[in-house]
Symmetry: C2
Subunit: 227 residues, 2 copies
Amino acid sequence: MLPVLGVDADDTLWENEERFHEVEQRFRDLMVPWAGGDATDAALLAAERENISRHGYGIKGFVLSMVLTAVEISDGAIDARSLAGIVGWGHEMMAHPIELLDGVPEALDDLGATHRLLLITKGDLGDQMGKVDRSGLADRFWRIEVVPEKDVPTYRDVLDRHGVDPAEFTMVGNSVKSDVLPVLAIGGRAIHVPHTTTWAFEKPDPADLDGVDFPVVDRLTDVAALL
Amino acid sequence: MLPVLGVDADDTLWENEERFHEVEQRFRDLMVPWAGGDATDAALLAAERENISRHGYGIKGFVLSMVLTAVEISDGAIDARSLAGIVGWGHEMMAHPIELLDGVPEALDDLGATHRLLLITKGDLGDQMGKVDRSGLADRFWRIEVVPEKDVPTYRDVLDRHGVDPAEFTMVGNSVKSDVLPVLAIGGRAIHVPHTTTWAFEKPDPADLDGVDFPVVDRLTDVAALL
């Protein structure tokens, strides 16, 4: 049996953050009558932070937080059609074509020759599964797991359910907080493949990086050489 | 190894529909300036039907559909605070205490003595996992699966991943459409435990019931006697 390699999806296999940034810009524009861009960003981030435990990660929660933030920033003055428009932005995001990152299919073919590939992603269940389907990459994975949070208990649980020893598990992804630190914490290996931008929620606490060491590569294609 | 018994969660283990009905009543009340109760119900159901493939099942999608319906019914005249209030109803639903149905913990204890219990539920991932946690029932289950849809491909996939032969699998739940018909279709057994109300989306097509036969029991406690 081949060893198991965990692979993140959003911003590791395909563009994701960029979709959110485009919509955040529209949201800033919509809020101009009541607030500047920085104030809008700060209010939205605060709403997301307050709601993440109930909304989880993903587009639907993002939309709900934008709706609440718009009502708050405008002190209830924003018109109902604009709020329905925000929901429409969410629908656009859900239907957006998948843009694979450079060399991803080939990299997965290489990695899949020596490893059983386990996709581990967080977000809305249906949305994440839909992206996997539309990506055309589903067949390259041994198993696909959508989880509510990528933390130590979740990794333990996922590996346990699939009969994988953490000491023989490697995770690859663009988020130090979600793909690297919790995997190192359970005795696995992790390889960081940074993406151009990192969402505020995915920035690790600097204290958590003390004395932690892990390889960083530019692209998924560079991972095979490290295994 | 004990045989595997699939168990539905919402309205099989605990009240769920009732929560939605309470909020639907509030929604009707909110729409009174623009529409009667029946027209509001019909518009909301149409919005849910249109959006289910992108929203999936669960509270967040329900809230988004209510927001869109309110804007449409009021022709954009509803005030922003009321729309934020709809999001607040969703938050209340997410935080609602779990009300177990009669005899559920005891029934699961009995069933768990002879079967490995596999909870299979659809809806928002984080919300469903949170309910399992808050129910205090998590330890009674061998495995827990939150799926985007409970149809033939999903059951095939779930059973395959857990190494369960459909011919040796039995599913128990309150929805003929989601818990009974697809399981019979893959060669498994199913036992229907009806709940007081059934959501329009969970009503099976009468044609699908032609020539189909399955046992129906009043309560989860009555299932053990049939196995």
